[in-house]
């Protein structure tokens, strides 16, 4: 039964990921990306990472996509700029590289056939929070510095030169 759910979510995720790189309109790409994020969040929930699934929807599908949509609306790309993508030598090369990478990655997977162990209280907010504030305290603080630097950098970059 859960295999059926896995395939449903996996097909949703892969199909919308393909739409992200195939659609001509940037706005359509953004909405396909939202669908991909929701599919990945469902897979997180199937892996019992419930808190992370909620964070995926909040941060990715909420905050990051709002940023993307805001910038797309801000730029107001014309029709001709949207339709200028054409199949070139570089495009064919890119598809070949992507296919080669997929083949290498998939050929490596033949040994991983074991299932998942049954665990109680695995991905809850209590366990994740405890690990984050004990074992990973220093990386957590460095992450806060990273976000601070990002905020300052964005303000400096996006300021209109006077």
């Amino acid at each position: 039964m859960s295999l059926v759910f896995f395939y449903v979510f996996a097909i949703l995720t892969v199909a919308s990921a393909l739409c992200v790189i195939a659609f001509r309109n940037t706005l359509s790409c953004a909405f396909a990306l939202v669908s991909t994020f929701f599919g990945v969040a469902c897979l997180y929930a199937m892996l019992e990472a419930h808190f992370l699934a909620a964070m995926q929807v909040l941060v990715y599908a909420g905050a990051i996509m709002v940023l993307f949509l805001f910038v797309i609306m801000l730029m107001n790309l014309g029709r001709e700029e949207i339709l200028k993508i054409k199949m070139s030598f570089v495009g064919v090369l890119g598809i070949l590289i992507g296919g080669y990478l997929a083949t290498i990655l998939l050929l490596r997977l033949s040994g991983l056939t074991s299932g998942f162990p049954q665990l109680a209280n695995f991905g809850g907010i209590r366990e994740v929070g405890r690990a984050m504030f004990t074992d990973f305290l220093v990386p957590f603080e460095i992450t806060s510095f990273l976000l601070l630097i990002a905020v300052v950098g964005v303000v400096v970059l996006a300021r209109r030169e006077t």
Binding site: L3, A30, Y60, F68, I85, A102, S114, M132
Partner: protein, 101 residues
């Protein structure tokens, strides 16, 4: 019948390959950014699948850090794209050549 670790890692590999293909093929800077997000999501999925496999939450905490990093990266990257658009009037990476690349 339940999905095994190989199912999730296969899906992660497929997602990552789609992201790489998008980065190499597309010339719209915004879509290239979205493809990078796809690759980060694929890495997160692999982190969480292995964390579930090993029964520890370390992989989940790392996935949190990846999400925070993705948020910072998107903010800075979109600011750079907006600045380039303001200066050049385009976000086609084939036409942006003030670095003489």
């Amino acid at each position: 019948m339940t999905p095994t670790l190989a199912h999730y890692i296969t899906l992660s590999a497929i997602l990552f390959s789609i992201g790489v293909t998008g980065v190499v093929c597309r010339r719209n800077a915004l879509v290239i950014f979205m493809s990078i997000e796809l690759m980060l999501n694929a890495a997160n999925l692999a982190f969480i699948a292995f964390a579930r496999h090993r029964g520890t939450v370390d992989g989940e905490v790392l996935a949190f850090f990846v999400i925070a990093l993705a948020a910072a990266e998107v903010a800075v990257g979109l600011a750079i794209i907006v600045a380039i658009f303001r200066k050049q009037g385009t976000i086609d990476v084939g036409e942006i050549r003030f670095l003489k690349g």
